[in-house]
């Protein structure tokens, strides 16, 4: 059986890749995709811990299901924002969207 640390390692790698995407990618869609990766890394952790630590308690799966739902909603809102930004500014570059600058 695949030991737990391997799942955790994969999840950590996946989270780091997602994090890198969020921090480094200039395209807002790619940033959104990075976020999805990080969410999925979390989901992987939730499932892995559930399976190895409390297999008789369904809370891990429930959390994962919630995260999926929230992620779907988030993507829907995020993409809508990106489209709105694009319409206004003809760009999806994250660097260009700095209206919050103080």
């Amino acid at each position: 059986m695949v030991p737990l640390w391997m799942y955790l390692t994969v999840a950590a790698a996946l989270f780091s890749i997602g994090m890198y995407g969020v921090l480094a990618r200039r395209n807002a869609v790619a940033v959104l995709m990075g976020i999805e990766l990080m969410l999925n890394a979390v989901n992987l952790n939730l499932i892995a811990f559930w399976r190895y630590l409390t297999p008789f308690n369904m809370s891990g799966q429930a959390f994962a299901a919630f995260v999926l739902v929230v992620a779907a909603a988030e993507v829907a809102v995020g993409l809508a924002i990106i489209i709105a930004v694009y319409r206004n500014r003809q760009s999806v570059e994250v660097e260009d969207v700095d209206m919050l600058k103080g």
Binding site: M19, V22, L23, A24, V31, V94, E95, V97, D98, M99, L100, K101, G102
Partner: protein, 811 residues
């Protein structure tokens, strides 16, 4: 319960009438309306007022004020008469059980209480006959004399107050109340002398009179205070009828000067006498009285006859036992106050008489004559001729009031003549002259407005040297209605005034046997002679000689005045046309009736004091002893009453000689060959020119005072007070304080800017700076924010891990 039938209470009410009249006129009936200053009604006293509106008393106010004033004075006069008759019907009035007095508490001063009260003894009774009568005449006279004055209501208010104050002084039972009346009269005299305040000379004369008498009054107040300190009372009877108190005062050495042998009584006496020297215009404080002629003539009569100057002598007569305490003038033992009085009085009598010889102003002659006659009284008091002095005070009041009012009539008549002359010209003159005539016409109201304006006379009114800005009136030769050189022959135009004036004049001169002045002067000389012949006292013979010479000069200048005024030809056109405006006019009646009344008393007042052993007259008028003497002597303690001098032919013959000789000589020089218009005074031929000039300029006393007092005072005021004290010390101190505070203010300003502003400004500035710095973190780059979050998470995680490790390690 006050019993109004009790005569002791009536004197309380006597001063009240005029006082109330004063209050009513001043507060209610004195109402004016405004007219242009050039109006005929105003009389145009002052050219500077052209174009201004000036108040002139309303006709109803004029009438009502006269009625009120007369009512107040008449009430006082009637009550005085009641008291007078009560008094003379009480034999030996003045002895302890025969005196009207009542008093009540007045001022509580700690333990002691001043009492206010009235005292009626023989002195008061006689004064209550003379004062209200003379004042009454003056009131009546003022109705006519002031009839055209724009402020007649005010005039009646002031003379009412004056009369009230004089009556207060007369009935007072203590020195403090006497002093109150004394000072109120001082104020009134100031207001009345300066009544025509449009004239510079008038208000200057008022100030001069006020300040001169003030000098004396302060010293008198010192005497009063000292007397109170010594005895604890100011009541006349407590002090003067108490031999123990008098002996105590005479026996105690005075403060400070006691080592020179001056007793307390002596020092107090000297202080009080100096007060009188000021009030009764004795040398060297006589200078105010001639200038006081600037006031309206009724005021001159009031001040110089009935009230103020008499008040000075009356106060001394009142306090006489105090001055005599420790001495006995009848045996030649003098106390210092008596000596002072004798010397000052005798000197003043002669001194003023010599000045009167050369005066040309009809009122100035009378003014110096008043000073001289008051000197007679002072000298008489100094040699102990107490009753003779009082007798002379009374007779003098009658004839001097008469003379002043008659001279006012003369002036009025002269102005009338002058006025008439101008009207006459006006009919022919063109309109260009109207204005000039108007001014002359104005003179009609300012009766006394025309003092001698000779070049050397101009500045002597208050004795101030002529400065450039002083010469505000052009010194043009204008008509002076008071100058006797302009008169002459007036006996034909104003016979009533002339005859009464002559009666007053011969009474003043002491025309033998038939005039009041003879009997009173003779009594003074007889007293002096009698004591000298008994004790060969040097003072008595000195006084006798001085007074005899003064009496001679008095007769002489009276003859000169009468001749120049009434005899001979009219020397000017104004004299030809002089008159009082018809025999039945109100002015003519009110101005001549008092003259007749007073002329009557100027003759008969003397007969009450005829010595019983005088040949013929004694048996007619004094079969039971000298009535005046016997009545008045009870105002002194029995042992102090002066001896009655027996008849002696020498002083009587001297009186005869000086009076008749003076009158004859005066008549010979001025009457037999009357002065022609423009002719020089024959006096200049007799006296050397320098002596004549000396006398005409009154011995240059005014100039001396200017040099000694006025100029140094002005210098002191200007250079010391203004420059040094005011500008130097006071201004300097104030400037220094201001500078210190400015400096402190500057310090605070710097402190404020640097510290407080610094602190309170740098706090927000720091916040601003911090914000400016901190805003740079707000880049708007979402990924940068994310990076911050990542670092934060990593640090938090690190802390967590590390602390968890520590916790594990700690167990």
């Amino acid at each position: 319960m006050v019993n109004f039938n009790d005569v002791n209470y009536l004197p309380w009410l006597i001063p009240l009438g005029p006082m109330l009249a004063f209050a009513i006129i001043a507060l209610l009936t004195n109402r004016s309306r405004l007219v242009p200053a050039t109006s005929h009604e105003y009389g145009g006293h002052h050219p500077d007022y052209d174009g201004m509106l000036v108040p002139v008393v309303a006709p109803w106010s004029r009438v009502l004020s006269i009625v009120v004033g007369m009512a107040g004075m008449t009430a006082a006069w009637l009550m005085s008469l009641v008291v007078f008759f009560q008094g003379i019907s009480t034999s030996k009035l003045g002895l302890d059980d025969k005196v009207f007095e009542s008093s009540r508490n007045w001022l509580a001063t700690g333990v002691e209480t001043f009492r206010i009260g009235i005292l009626v003894d023989p002195l008061t009774v006689v004064m209550l006959f003379m004062v209200p009568l003379v004042v009454m005449c003056i009131f009546i006279y003022s109705i006519g004399y002031m009839a055209h004055d724009p402020r007649q209501a005010r005039f009646f208010a002031l003379i009412s107050l004056f009369a009230g104050a004089m009556l207060t002084l007369v009935v007072a039972d203590n020195l403090l109340l006497l002093f109150v009346g004394w000072e109120v009269m001082g104020v009134c005299s100031y207001l009345l002398i300066g009544f025509w305040y449009e004239k510079k000379s008038a208000y200057r004369a008022a100030i001069k009179a006020f300040t001169t008498t003030r000098v004396a009054d302060v010293i008198m107040l010192l005497g009063i205070v000292y007397l109170y300190t010594m005895t604890g009372t100011l009541s006349f009877r407590d002090i003067l009828y108490n031999p123990e108190v008098l002996a105590m005062l005479a026996g105690t050495p005075a403060l400070i000067v006691g080592s020179w042998g001056i007793s307390a009584a002596g020092l107090i006496g000297m202080f009080l006498i100096i007060g009188t020297i000021g009030k009764s215009a004795q040398f060297p404080l006589h200078v105010w009285l001639p200038d006081a002629m600037e006031g309206p003539t009724p005021v001159s009569a009031m001040i110089h006859a009935a009230a103020m100057v008499s008040a000075g002598i009356y106060a001394i007569i009142r306090m006489y036992p105090l001055f005599e305490a420790g001495g006995h003038p009848h045996s030649g033992e003098f106390t210092l106050p008596l000596l002072l009085m004798a010397v000052v009085g005798a000197f003043t009598a002669l001194f003023a008489a010599t000045i009167a010889l050369t005066q040309n102003d009809v009122k100035k002659v009378l003014a110096y004559s008043t000073i001289s006659q008051l000197g007679f009284m002072m000298a008489a008091l100094g040699i102990g001729a107490y009753i003779a002095a009082f007798f002379h005070l009374i007779t003098h009041a009658f004839f001097k009031a008469l003379l002043f009012m008659a001279s006012g009539s003369v002036i009025h008549a002269m102005e009338h003549g002058e006025h008439h002359l101008h009207e006459h010209h006006d009919e022919h003159g063109d309109h260009d002259h109207a204005h000039a005539d108007h001014h002359a016409h104005d003179a009609h109201d300012s009766h006394d407005a025309h003092d001698a304006h000779d070049a050397h006379d101009h500045h002597e009114i208050v004795g101030e040297p002529i400065d450039a800005d002083d010469v505000d009136e052009p010194v043009t030769p204008h008509f002076d209605p008071q100058d006797m050189r302009n008169m002459g022959g007036l006996i034909r135009t104003i016979p009533v005034t002339a005859w009464t004036f002559i009666i007053g004049g011969v009474s003043l001169a002491g025309f033998p046997l038939i005039t009041a002045g003879f009997w009173s002067k003779d009594e003074i000389l007889a007293d002096a002679w009698y004591v000298w012949s008994g004790t060969s006292s040097v003072v008595h013979i000195f006084v006798f000689v001085m007074l005899a010479m003064a009496a001679f000069l008095t007769a002489f200048y009276t003859a000169r005045q009468l001749s120049m005024t009434f005899l001979g030809d009219h020397r000017t056109e104004a004299a030809t046309h002089s008159g009082l405006g018809g025999p039945r006019s109100i002015i003519s009646i009110t101005m001549q009736l008092p003259l007749v009344i007073l002329a009557f008393f100027a003759i008969v007042a003397g007969f009450v004091g005829v010595p019983p052993d005088f040949p013929i007259f004694g048996s007619i008028f004094a079969p039971n002893g000298n009535p005046f003497f016997d009545f008045v002597k009870y105002s002194l303690l029995t042992e102090m009453q002066p001896p009655k001098p027996p008849f002696n032919a020498i002083p009587v013959l001297v009186s005869f000689a000086v009076a008749l000789g003076g009158l004859y000589l005066g008549w010979r020089m001025y009457g037999r060959t009357p002065l022609k218009a423009g002719e020089a005074d024959p006096m200049t031929k007799i006296l050397s020119p320098s002596a004549y000039k000396l006398l005409q300029n009154k011995y240059y006393i005014d100039e001396l005072y200017v040099a000694v007092f006025v100029k140094p005072l002005k210098w002191f005021s200007k250079n010391v007070v203004v420059v040094f004290i005011d500008k130097g010390i006071i201004d300097g101190t104030i400037h220094l304080i201001a500078r210190v505070f400015t400096w402190i203010g500057d310090l605070f300003k710097v402190l404020n800017l640097w510290l407080i502003d610094g602190v309170s400004d740098s706090i927000p500035q720091g916040i601003i700076n911090f914000g400016a710095w901190f805003r740079r973190t707000q880049t708007g780059q979402i990924q940068q924010y994310m990076l911050w979050v990542l670092f934060a998470v990593l640090i938090i995680g690190l802390i967590f891990v590390v602390s968890a490790g520590f916790l594990q390690a700690a167990g």
